[in-house]
């Protein structure tokens, strides 16, 4: 069975109250959600809190998922990210963070075992969005990525990018529209 279908099946079973299916769903997807939450929240403790909240919500809302909402994993990622944004908006830590990207690669080099089917599907999704990101201007791309991965608001983006608020809003909006149109072309 394809991974997408497997996840959808576990989600459907979770909606019926199947605890084993929920456990399998958690085991299969929590590393990806946790990685995203770590990236956004900058703290393992906060990321773990958010992850727990996200899966409580998934357990409660599994019956609202339908295939029309897209791939199960991206739906789960959205739930986790909303939770992270809530926590960020509640209180944003004000700690200066040095840039050490090379150490990150070392820290995160533990690879999960991947099934070929899911790897292929996800890589296709990634290839599509990466190709479309390449079509954005540098400012558009940076503002969209900062907003996605750090949960920055317009105002925070303006400060971070040292640009007027109106300009940043324009970068975001134009970038999103170009992204949408590009992804639509790729899927047609």
């Amino acid at each position: 069975m394809a991974e997408r279908e497997q996840l959808a099946e576990w989600l459907a079973a979770t909606a019926r109250g199947d605890e084993q299916a929920f456990k399998r769903l958690y085991a299969a997807t929590s590393p990806q959600l946790y990685a995203l939450l770590l990236r956004i929240l900058r703290s393992p403790e906060r990321a773990q809190d958010a992850l727990q909240d996200a899966y409580v919500r998934i357990w409660q809302k599994a019956d609202t998922y339908s295939p029309e909402r897209g791939a199960p994993l991206t739906w789960l990622l959205s739930i986790a990210r909303y939770r992270a944004l809530d926590l960020l908006r509640r209180r944003r830590p004000e700690v200066a963070m040095p840039e050490e990207p090379d150490r990150v690669a070392t820290l995160l080099e533990d690879e999960q075992s991947l099934s070929p089917a899911q790897e292929n599907e996800n890589q296709q999704s990634l290839a599509a969005i990466n190709a479309c990101l390449a079509q954005l201007s540098d400012e558009q791309r940076e503002s969209v990525l900062l907003a996605y991965y750090e949960g920055l608001t317009h105002q925070e983006l303006a400060e971070r990018m040292n640009a007027p608020l109106g300009t940043v809003k324009s970068w975001i909006r134009r970038g999103l529209l170009r992204l949408r149109d590009c992804l639509a072309e790729g899927s047609s």
């Binding site: 958690y26 929590s30 590393p31 809190d49 994993l73 991947l114 990466n130």
Partner: protein, 250 residues
């Protein structure tokens, strides 16, 4: 130049998903979602588009206690406290284009590095987390099926505080309020207080009288009442939800 209505709606949905709308705009869009199918469709489409970015991260196995917390809060059996590493873990972006990686590094270097330093940073934990060291003794979930809104209501082990986790925003008309009641098996409803209807974590003290109502056969009731009824101690509005209270052993 004025943007076409469909593009404007699409952009609002996009920015809602991205998280860049200001709080008022976000709340307005949330309300629109309740009865606007087009808005819901656009929201789902943007969730799918942008969540692809979430796939572009190396998966990280969460600690076992996270699953234990999930099990505790959902009330499911904890026969397997530590869920083993999945056989079908989601894919990492193993073959991502190097230049895209560089963009992301530029964009995310600060936050990524912060993961390494998180143990050194002192962040204020969400208020609700204070109760995590003493397991809740009773729990109840209030669920509004039409909107998907839910509240997780738990009492601390000593029963002196009640914790409410509002898992979203619920539209309460102007001049109205949600009031929460506890009713034991043979008792009458006793007022706990107003039920918060915006996403967040809330705690309130539980009086000895209310603690006495809390038990295996008690129920949490929520009514929608006029705000003018504040100060009264008997239900007087529309009964919205009744949720059983379950004893927690974890």
């Amino acid at each position: 130049m004025t943007m076409p209505e469909h593009d404007e709606l699409d952009l609002i949905a996009a920015e809602y998903v991205l998280g860049t709308l200001d709080p008022e705009e976000a709340r307005a869009f949330q309300q629109r979602l309740v009865d606007d199918a087009a808005a819901r469709t656009r929201l789902a489409a943007w969730e799918q588009r942008l969540a692809r970015l979430g796939l572009d991260l190396e998966p990280v196995e969460p600690p076992a206690h996270v699953w234990e917390g999930v099990a505790r809060h959902t009330g499911i059996a904890r026969t397997e406290s530590a869920v083993s590493s999945p056989a079908v873990a989601p894919a990492a972006a193993a073959n991502d284009a190097p230049r895209v990686r560089r963009w992301r590094r530029l964009a995310m270097a600060a936050s990524v590095a912060a993961v390494l330093l998180a143990g050194l940073a002192v962040y204020e934990l969400p208020l609700w987390h204070e109760g995590a060291t003493s397991a809740p003794s009773y729990a109840s979930v209030i669920y509004d099926k039409p909107t998907g809104m839910s509240w997780l209501v738990t009492s601390t082990a000593d029963g002196r505080k009640l914790s409410v986790e509002a898992m979203g925003d619920f539209n309460v008309p102007s001049g109205k309020m949600l009031r929460m009641w506890i009713k034991s098996a043979n008792g009458k409803p006793e007022l706990i207080g107003q039920l918060p209807h915006t996403r967040g974590h809330y705690t309130m003290p539980l009086s000895a009288k209310l603690r006495a109502q809390l038990g295996d056969h008690s129920e949490i009731m929520v009514s929608m009442e006029d705000t003018s009824r504040a100060g009264t101690t008997t239900p007087g509005g529309k009964l919205m939800w009744v949720a059983p209270v379950a004893h927690r052993t974890g």
